[in-house]
Symmetry: C2
Subunit: 198 residues, 2 copies
């Protein structure tokens, strides 16, 4: 658990209908760059023993976090794109992911030029809920013959299956904050291991 992040979620996170946690005032619409810098540092600390040569994320809200984090690893970022663009070569790895937030399915693609068997990848994303986006990203990376060395998530929704699914795949997953439950009536947010010291 990253205490600074937990405190910020408690202070500025808003619980919305449908088990949605809004953190758009500091993470995924307006972005507090100072906090995201600390998030990048924390990912570096957690994955310091990993040999990473690329960070992979998916547009849109993962990109800023991935770019700031990449500064601490001195590696490039590749972001998977949602839906076909005429600017992408036909030569792409593609998969479909279902968005919990948007209630729709996206085609997600990465140009084959930017993932290869030598890549040791750290996947970064802002949220982990049902895990569909993450499973899709893992699929893109492994299709390229690259290896997923680790997965760094800012906020995991502990009440949804994603975290368990990914950990059962044998992946090394580090979530900076795990929200176990929320009380929409009182606005309380309960975190896993919240009583433990860092």
């Amino acid at each position: 658990m990253m205490q600074m992040l937990v405190d910020r979620i408690k202070k500025d996170g808003v619980i919305k209908h449908g088990n949605v946690l809004k953190v758009d005032s500091f993470l995924n619409h307006q972005m507090d760059i100072e906090l995201i810098n600390e998030i990048g540092k924390e990912f570096k600390r957690l994955f310091a023993d990993c040999e990473i040569n690329k960070i992979v994320t998916v547009e849109a809200s993962g990109i800023g976090i991935a770019c700031i984090t990449a500064q601490y690893f001195n590696v490039p970022v590749v972001f998977a794109k949602k839906s076909q663009s005429i600017n992408i070569d036909g030569d792409v790895y593609s998969t479909q992911i279902e968005s919990f937030t948007h209630k729709r399915t996206y085609d997600v693609i990465v140009s084959k030029k930017f993932l290869n068997p030598n890549d040791k990848v750290l996947i970064i994303d802002d949220f982990l809920a049902n895990g569909c986006a993450l499973v899709g990203l893992i699929e893109l990376v492994t299709c390229a013959g690259a290896s997923v060395e680790g997965i760094g998530i800012v906020i995991e929704k502990g009440s949804q299956a994603g975290g368990e699914v990914i950990r059962e795949m044998g992946m090394r997953l580090e979530s900076l904050a795990i929200v176990d439950s929320m009380n929409a009536a009182t606005g309380e947010i309960f975190f896993r291991d919240a009583d433990k010291k860092e």
Copy 2:
């Protein structure tokens, strides 16, 4: 002109059918974070005299550049979102922008919570072509009563009208590289003021 960027475009930019310049190996699919750091520094140098308290961009490829740049200004980033999301409050500023690259029209929105009359905004984006995205962003910012202090663009397509449109609006626009023309047959890319020393 930012010589390091011009050199990189000459080296790794690829001319595609339809006057499209692909820079996806370092700017908007795979991202060279070291280069983007230099881009952030250059924007800070160019707008050092401006009082900026927020950076505004539009998803997706502007986000990483905006976040890295924001570190030099010590300000938050707000990125406008494409199309309605159930996670966005009804209370949004919205406009429509037509994408030159994707040949389609998007609804672009910013939550009213994150733009207000006290904001002195630097708009950042990767490309300026026909200017539609930028005119849309300017509209969102001015609708909120905020002021556009400056606009920083990584690559301007000098053969398209956007730059002229924005400058004629009286906006302070700084483009780090202006591509005046491209020769698809030879792969040559011609830059404005390329012979001038920085």
